[in-house]
Amino acid sequence: MSSSLTEIRWHGRGGQGAVTAAKMVAEIAAEHGKCFQAFPEYGPERSGAPIVAFTRLSDDPIQCYSAVEHPAIVLVLDETLLSVVDVTDGAPADAAVIVNTEKSPSEIKKVFDFGKRRVYTIPATKIAKQTLGRAIPNTPMVSALSKITGQFSLGEIEDHLRHTFGKKFPPKVVEANVEAAHMGFEEVQE
């Protein structure tokens, strides 16, 4: 197995865009020559139901077709999931957990047990509402991931939004996402 392999697990609710966010990371990785794999753990796809998606990133081709059991990074798109799902399940002690919340890491650590894992928070929904006018936390979550892992840069996210993403959406939406990415990068806290 490649030593450069990074395994990521996304927790969200149906309709929040966890799968789209995982796809965005995969696309950015592909644009910069990295190998990747992104897949949802699907099931009854009901809006609002807890869902899980996985992303693998590596410098070498990925041939492992199995669920991620020991993610180095866990992203939680909806803080209400913390009381429903054990988001740290299988994550090693040195894993990072990134939670979309307006609270600080110390505040949520008082309520939920994350063990020794690093906990980061980001008000991604708030940023999305401010910039996009909609509660879609994907883009700021991806920039938080960029800041914490260094797997790709804010500039690369911006390139992706302007080019790939820009093919499907009008400039106004693209620029709002770029702004969301910058705010996400700035506002993530440990």
Partner: protein
């Protein structure tokens, strides 16, 4: 049932070139189908196959696929439509999974008996009851007596490539049998990966147009499906068996020619990975093979001499190739994602039958490792391999 034929807009020539795309396993299949230029596509949706036919509908809208698209009222009708369309001498396509495949079952026998080389990807999914959407190969394996060729693939690229090869093998005049290309739900069907879509020119050069000797045509005055005598039926089934017996060599040849033209080869009937000096082979098919390859690397680093034997062709079951591949190996352990109640793991049982009478045949362990889509990780494979090395095999498949 409705059939739609659209006026095609002018195509951007760049779309005909080799394209590197980010595609889910199912969409990779759709692009593979596109390059094969089927003339009739009959479809009925079923999770988790639906993205294949949805993408095909998209590609027909943009003119990238130029086929008559039939949206049928059931899978049974979709297969019936495929059989009759194929008998008129055109290349046809459909896809299915799980419950939908079972509704087709009657017509699957008809398709092979009518010698229609239909290609149908199957996205392996659990069967109700209880209800689930998980990867499990029991759906397609339960069709193993229907006279269809069956390939099992481990990823989107291999599935795309095998759709192209499947047409070439199925339409060979010495074969003329339908083929399934099976990949698993979720781990493959919905995994987004970088995929190479070959150029139209290369696929056209590899896969000649379908031009069968016999076809339903009012000017030819041929017919199909008449009542026969016992002796005629006997000869017909014997002929199907002879056609099946041509398949393994043609699979090898198709793979070699594919590798020469496209630069990607898969080993044909089976693939051996790090099998040199192995004490034991892990035998598997489908998505688990990639994970097993990583597990083999991990175990080899710990000086555990094991390798992977990946079975790619399940029908016809390649008895000779398997016997040659395992000669001199003391043990095999089958890890599989399917279950026949009262029999066990289907690959385990077929493998043991294939080794019957072989001199110094290896001992065979059978582990029901991934039934119902249970995750089989790299570490789990190592754990099961060590378990097999430490115990004496039993006749039955084992719930691990």
């Amino acid at each position: 049932m409705s059939a739609v034929k659209l006026e095609n807009p002018a195509l951007d020539p760049a779309l005909l070139q080799e394209r590197r795309m980010l595609l889910k396993g199912n969409h990779a299949v759709s692009y593979g189908v596109m390059r094969c230029r089927p003339e009739v596509i009959a479809m009925y949706p079923i999770t988790p196959q639906t993205p294949i036919v949805e993408k095909i509908a998209d590609l027909a809208l943009t003119g990238e696929i130029d086929a008559e698209i039939m949206t049928c009222e059931s899978e049974h009708s979709a297969m019936s439509a495929c059989i009759t369309a194929s008998l008129t001498g055109v290349r046809v396509f459909t896809a299915s999974a799980s419950q939908g495949l079972f509704l087709m079952h009657e017509m699957l026998h008809y398709a092979s008996g009518a010698r229609t080389p239909i290609v149908m990807p199957i996205v392996n999914r659990t069967l109700g009851s209880p209800w689930g959407f998980w990867p499990d190969q029991t759906d397609s394996l339960a069709q193993r007596d229907t006279g269809w060729i069956q390939f099992y693939t481990e990823g989107g690229q291999e599935s795309l490539d095998m759709v192209i090869q499947a047409y070439k093998i199925a339409e060979n005049p010495d074969v003329m049998l339908p083929a399934m290309v099976c990949h698993e739900a979720f781990y493959v069907s919905h995994a987004l990966e970088p995929i190479t879509v070959p150029s139209q020119a290369d696929v056209d050069a590899y896969l000649p147009p379908f031009n069968p000797e016999h076809r339903l045509d009012v000017d030819r005055k041929e017919s199909w499906g008449n009542v026969v005598t016992q002796e005629m039926f006997y000869r017909h089934r014997r002929d199907m068996g002879i056609s099946m017996s041509h398949v393994p060599d043609l699979v090898t040849k198709a793979d070699v020619e594919f590798a020469e033209r496209f630069g990607r080869g898969y080993g044909g009937i089976l693939e051996k990975y790090r099998c040199e000096d192995a004490e034991m082979y892990i035998v598997a098919f489908g998505a688990m093979c990639g994970t097993i390859r990583e597990a083999v690397d991990q175990m080899r680093e710990k000086n555990l001499p094991v390798g992977l034997l990946k079975i790619r062709l399940f029908r016809p079951f390649p008895v000779q190739a398997i016997q040659e591949a395992v000669a001199g190996i003391p043990r095999l352990v089958v890890m599989e994602r399917n279950y026949s109640p009262g029999l066990g793991g289907i690959l385990h049982q077929e493998l043991k039958a294939a080794l019957f009478g072989m001199e110094n045949a290896p001992l065979v362990h059978g582990y029901l490792a991934g039934v119902g889509g249970v995750n089989v990780s790299v570490d789990r494979i190592e754990e099961l391999t060590r378990k097999a090395l430490a115990e004496t095999p039993v006749v039955e498949s084992v719930w691990v």
